[in-house]
Every structure is written in C-alpha cells, then in structure tokens.
C-alpha cells in the first residue's frame, strides 16, 4: 500500500509532502506518543487525533513516512514546516480513529507485527 492509496481509502486531504508513491509497511494508531515510541516499524504511518509539535517529533524519531490526522484535525504551520524538512507526508481525514484504522486494516495494512 502506498501513501497515495491511504489518502484514497481515507478520503484524506494531502496537507504537505509529495512522496506519495512511498510504500507503507505498517501502521500505528494512538494519541499517546510513548505508546507509539514503544514499537518500531519500518516505513510506518501514524494515525492520531493529537495535534502538536510532538506528533511530528515522535514520527521523526521513528523514521515514519506519513502521519494521518483523524477527525478533520489540521496541523499548524510550524508542524507542517518541520514535516516538510523531514520529508514526511501529512494527511487529514474527517474519519474517526476507529474507522480510519479499520479501513486501512481491511485493505491489507497491518500493525506491522509478524
């Protein structure tokens, strides 16, 4: 699944980033950043309802390729700037967390567990 596929499935807006062809291998959905930091996955996407700089920082430390903001949340300019600097794609969807995760899962994206 690529980032473009994710945007499609979630009917999400691309807030920033242009590497939409990047392959995504796993996903993590949480509003608690230390929960996210507990499980490293390669080329992962983060789904979250939290909107602050630490979301971008967390994804940065994890080498994540994409963040999806659920419930129509939109990141601040400062967040967008940092994400751009790090080459991350930011998406925003109106869907709620459960629905967004469920849709991606049913399209074959897993939590990254073997």
């Amino acid at each position: 699944m690529t980032i473009a596929d994710i945007a499609n499935i979630l009917n999400a807006t691309v807030v920033c980033g242009d590497n939409l062809d990047t392959e995504v291998l796993g996903a993590c959905g949480s509003d608690m950043m230390s929960d996210v930091l507990a499980y490293v996955k390669e080329q992962a996407v983060l789904l979250t309802g939290l909107v602050n700089m630490q979301v971008i920082r967390t994804a940065e430390m994890m080498d994540m390729v994409c963040i999806v903001f659920v419930r129509g949340k939109t990141p601040s300019d400062e967040m967008i700037d940092l994400a751009k600097e790090r080459g991350m794609v930011l998406l925003s969807t109106e869907l709620r967390m459960f629905t967004a995760c469920g849709l991606l899962y049913s399209h074959g994206l897993t939590g990254g567990e073997q």
């Binding site: 608690m32 950043m33 230390s34 930091l37 507990a38 602050n52 630490q54 940065e60 994890m62 400062e78």
Partner: protein, 138 residues
C-alpha cells in the same frame, strides 16, 4: 572518533521539546551511523528529554559520540524520582491531566529507554534532581 555535544533543554516551551534529540539524530546521520543505531539513540534520548520537560522543569543534555558507542547523559535539577522500581514499570506515571492531553503520561518512557539502550543508569535524589546515563552500542 570522539565528538561531544551539549544542549540546554528548556521547559518553558513544550513545542520545542525534542529539538536536542532531533539535532543529535541529524548529527549521527551525517556521521554515517547505522539507521537502527540512530533510531535507538533518538527514541531513548527523546523520551528522556520529554521527561525533563514534563517532570523536572528542564535540564541539560550531554552527548558523547564514539565510533563504537553513543552515550547520552541527561541532567536535571527537578524533584527526583522517589521509587525508581515503580517508575520503571510500564504504565506507571505521575503525569498531570494537562500533560496527558499533550500526548504523554502513558508511563512508557522509562521502559522504552530501557528497551532501546544497552545500558541505563539512573542517579536520583529527592529534591535535588536526576541524572540519566544511557548507552547505545554500535
């Protein structure tokens, strides 16, 4: 190789927490360290940096980079940790509701640091502060 880096971590502006860890990550990348090593250092240091901001009123970070290891020392003058054994347990947190609303306070930070480092030393004294020394071997 022997490179020393020093950062001041301020607690005044939560949006800036993690800048030091981000800078170290960029430096290690520039020096050509393996991605998995960089990620371990970045995550562990970031958790420690956030802890200094949310629990200790800020502090300083000293990073020692050698060819075979990266050592990060985080020192604060905060309240100290009364019960380290408890603090090391997954899910134990004294974080306020405000901190939880910022996405922290799951009680996972110290266990994460333990998980991603090869050595972890916590020196703490009530009312004096805490020094966390973490080592990642290359």
């Amino acid at each position: 190789m022997n490179i020393q880096l020093h950062y001041t971590v301020s607690a005044d502006d939560f949006t800036r927490a993690g800048e030091a860890s981000g800078a170290v990550k960029a430096k290690l990348k520039q020096l050509g360290f393996r991605p998995d090593v960089i990620r371990k250092v970045a995550i562990a240091m970031y958790e420690g940096e956030i802890n200094m901001v949310i629990h200790a009123g800020g502090g300083v970070a000293d990073v020692d980079i050698e060819a075979d290891r990266v050592v990060v020392v985080l020192t604060d003058q905060g309240p100290g940790i009364p019960d380290i054994e408890k603090a090391m347990q997954e899910g134990y947190s004294t974080a306020s509701e405000t901190v939880r609303n910022l996405g922290f306070g799951a009680g996972m930070g110290l266990p994460n640091i333990k998980k991603y480092t090869d050595d972890l030393i916590i020196d703490t004294e009530i009312g004096k502060g805490t020094r966390i020394t973490m080592t990642v071997l290359v």
